[in-house]
């Protein structure tokens, strides 16, 4: 029987950061709890926050369940996480600058060249480009799981346009509205500065051709996109324009925004559109979502695109294996946060191990996301394991395998009261002139008993995440 780290109870005792929450939980009658839960859901519906977390698919209009029981970190725990997250964000950006320049890490034989240069996310069009401040990935979302008091593992990196941060902000907002006493009794670090820090981060990477206060916009694919709510929410909180491709145009050396007072030059574009769609003159010619000519302006230094086109080469699941190497190579440091040991099914030794131990492992598609197309060996039937074995053997290079991690649990409200449920963590690290991380994150929780899959498309919910002031 696998032992799971329970973040609230250890050896029958309450861990210090949860001490006050135990009183709160015990003092709450079932009737009140039901009432509060209904109130929370009502608030979420009224706000209209009903989108799926990055790449998860599923019904975009479905409300993601919110669990009122907060997840808590001590200041000391967070300090270590913060160091590890920032270290990783620095290394990922150094890697991106390198592979689009001389590719020293490949020349040194530390990362296989095939993984980089034959990667579908490698963009030949930006080779030789050094974006302002040497930043490719301005918002790095790092998915982390906990397996013990001091054991944290990085599951994956998201260097393109990780979404879900609006949940971090809304979860907090709703908790503060519903339980103001909790925020008086506990000294909880605030997260509401996130939009302001994001805006400052984006402004700090304005191109050299920009003089004066840079104009920053958020480029969305439009209201049919599942994360549109988040796009408008963030633009609103940052006080910047939310635009679609048709609101922008290229003229001469710059990108311009149509406004009622005439064209206005745009300096920084926080885009929530994939590389393939941002400019039909450079990438997919059939894209109607982008801005024709944008890439030429970007490449000649007239505008900054965040995240920079090509950033995706740092976050695929095969490249992930080499992030600890990146940290050693570029920073000369040892990784603070560990990777999950990963077997590449494309390698014959690894493949043999994976096939021999399939019922113990988690197997994922290299480019998959959202918990689809994935095998959780210990939770699968014999038939499911065998069916998956055939899929791996048909295309080994498309799969990686990892040990089934004993994801930590936190108390969660369930029909019967309160019960432990497995959680993960997605912090959002901001990289511009400085690297910043607000003390908070999105916690996703697997609401099904025993489930290790936290994705909202697979029955996952979200929680407010607290970092206690020291």
């Amino acid at each position: 029987m696998t032992q799971y780290f329970n973040e609230m109870y250890q050896g029958g005792k309450v861990r210090a950061p949860y001490a006050r929450l135990e009183d709160w939980m015990k003092a709450m009658p079932a009737a009140l709890r039901t009432l509060k839960q209904a109130e929370a859901e009502d608030l979420f519906r009224r706000i209209g926050i009903t989108f799926a977390v990055y790449g998860e698919g599923g019904d975009p209009d479905r409300l993601i369940p919110f669990d009122m029981f907060p997840r808590v970190f001590t200041g000391a725990e967070w300090a270590r996480l913060e160091k590890g997250i920032k270290q990783r964000a620095r290394a990922l950006n150094a890697f991106l600058v390198d592979v689009y320049q001389r590719g020293e890490i490949v020349r040194a034989g530390r990362v296989p060249s095939r993984l980089v240069y034959q990667n579908e996310a490698y963009e030949k069009a930006v080779a030789g480009i050094r974006p302002p401040k040497g930043v490719y990935s301005h918002i790095v979302g790092i998915d982390i799981v906990r397996t013990g008091p001091d054991e944290f593992f990085v599951l994956e990196d998201n260097c393109r346009t990780p979404s879900g941060v609006s949940y971090m902000l809304e979860n907090r907002e709703i908790m503060m509205r519903m339980f103001p006493d909790l925020f008086r009794e506990n000294r909880i670090e605030p997260v509401e500065k996130y939009p302001e820090i994001l805006r400052r981060t984006l402004a700090s990477v304005a191109p050299e051709k920009c003089s004066g206060e840079p104009t920053v916009v958020l480029l969305t694919p439009g209201h049919f996109n599942s994360a549109y709510y988040e796009h408008s929410f963030l633009a609103d909180l940052m006080g910047i324009e939310l635009v679609e491709g048709q609101d922008l145009f290229v003229e001469g050396e710059f990108v311009w925004m149509r406004t009622t007072e005439g064209p206005k030059k745009v300096d920084v574009i926080y885009r929530r559109i994939d590389d393939a769609f941002i400019d039909p003159l450079c990438f997919r010619p059939d894209s109607m979502l982008g801005v024709p000519g944008l890439m030429d302006v970007y490449r000649s230094g007239g505008v900054t695109i965040c995240s920079a086109p090509g950033a995706g080469v740092a976050d695929d699941k095969a490249v992930y294996t080499f992030v600890p190497e990146m940290i050693r190579f570029y920073l000369g440091e040892e990784p603070i946060l560990q990777n999950v040991p990963t077997w590449q099914c494309g390698k014959s030794d690894d493949l043999r191990y994976v096939l021999d131990n399939l019922s113990e492992l988690v197997v994922k598609e290299v480019h998959g996301s959202g918990g689809y197309g994935m095998l959780v060996g210990p939770k699968s039937t014999k038939d499911q394991v065998e069916a998956f074995r055939a899929k791996i053997m048909a295309d080994p290079g498309n799969y990686i395998a990892q040990p089934t991690l004993a994801l930590s649990t936190t108390p969660t409200f369930v029909a019967e009261g309160v019960a432990p449920r497995h959680v993960d963590l997605r912090p959002y690290c901001l990289v511009g002139e400085r690297i910043e991380l607000v003390p908070g994150a999105l916690t996703r929780v697997a609401l099904k008993e025993g489930s290790l899959v936290v994705n909202s498309s697979q029955g996952g919910g979200v929680k407010d995440t607290w970092v206690l002031a020291e």
């Binding site: 095939r114 240069y117 030949k124 030789g128 302006v297 000649s300």
Partner: protein, 269 residues
């Protein structure tokens, strides 16, 4: 040779469009085989964007034309001094590693027939010999016949048809070379081809194959040779679309029609 180019592309729209945006790769590459004496690109009422050299070494320039506009003319004129380097792209500066050009694209996807072409050309006598055999095999398999194919014909389709133009030759050679493990790319440019008294396409395309030790080497299956001093190289890409000298889009509902004339002449030295 001293070659002059006069290349005119006229776009007309049956209803005026609100704006035209283009991205050009219309400047001769910088390498030991060619030296620009003079070179001018003009666009009717065009506003030039910032020009830059991309990672593949190509000079890229964006243009915008404000509407309403019912037609524009892109005119390229210039003089280039060329040298015969037997196809070798010597002295060309680029950042993109050759391995990037092993990636398959839709028009260069290999089918069984293309894989068979690659297999037949394999040998132990080195990549240059393999590349030459591949180019010869593609030239044998696809006869030059204008109009047999169109802009979106794939390498596999052209090979099955057995007919095509320079774009099809280049795509087929690229697809087969990549199967053989050789990085390969599409090159667009001009060809001075009137010396034999037969009319040829002066706007031309061929392929380059990366040969370890030599670097990038051009192969022109359409003319069964390696590019020499009759060729002017403009830019490269994974396939024809990626290497297009002009990529453009018009904002509006007007239907576009296109008229292209290219004249490449040799000057007496």
């Amino acid at each position: 040779m001293l070659l002059t180019v006069d290349h005119v592309t006229r776009y007309s729209y049956d209803r005026p469009v609100r704006a035209v945006m283009q991205s050009h790769r219309l400047t001769p590459s910088v390498f030991d085989g060619q030296k620009v004496r003079d070179w001018t690109v003009t666009v009717t009422d065009g506003i030039p964007g910032g020009a830059f050299r991309d990672g593949a070494g190509d000079r890229v320039q964006g243009w915008t034309v404000k509407g309403p506009v019912s037609g524009i003319e892109v005119r390229v004129t210039g003089t280039v001094e060329t040298l015969d380097l037997a196809g070798v792209l010597r002295g060309h500066r680029e950042v993109v590693p050759p391995e990037v050009y092993l990636v398959e694209t839709a028009p260069t996807a290999a089918d069984a027939a293309l894989r068979a072409v690659a297999a037949a050309a394999m040998g132990t006598d080195g990549p240059l010999a393999v590349a030459h055999r591949l180019a010869a095999a593609v030239a044998d398999a696809i006869a030059y016949r204008p109009g047999a194919t169109h802009a979106h014909t794939t390498a596999a389709e052209a090979l099955a048809l057995g007919e095509g133009v320079c774009q099809d030759h280049a795509h087929a050679l690229i697809a087969a070379a990549r199967v053989a493990g050789l990085p390969a790319r599409y090159v667009s440019g001009y060809l001075f081809a009137d010396s034999d008294g037969v009319a040829h396409e002066a706007a031309h395309a061929w392929a380059e194959i990366f040969v370890a030790g030599l670097g990038w080497v051009g192969f022109d299956p359409a003319n069964r040779c390696c590019p020499d001093d009759r060729y002017i190289r403009l830019g490269s890409g994974l396939d024809a679309q990626d290497a297009a000298p002009i990529r453009g889009i018009a904002r509006g509902t007007g239907a576009e029609s296109l008229d292209v004339t290219v004249a490449v002449l040799a000057l007496q030295q």
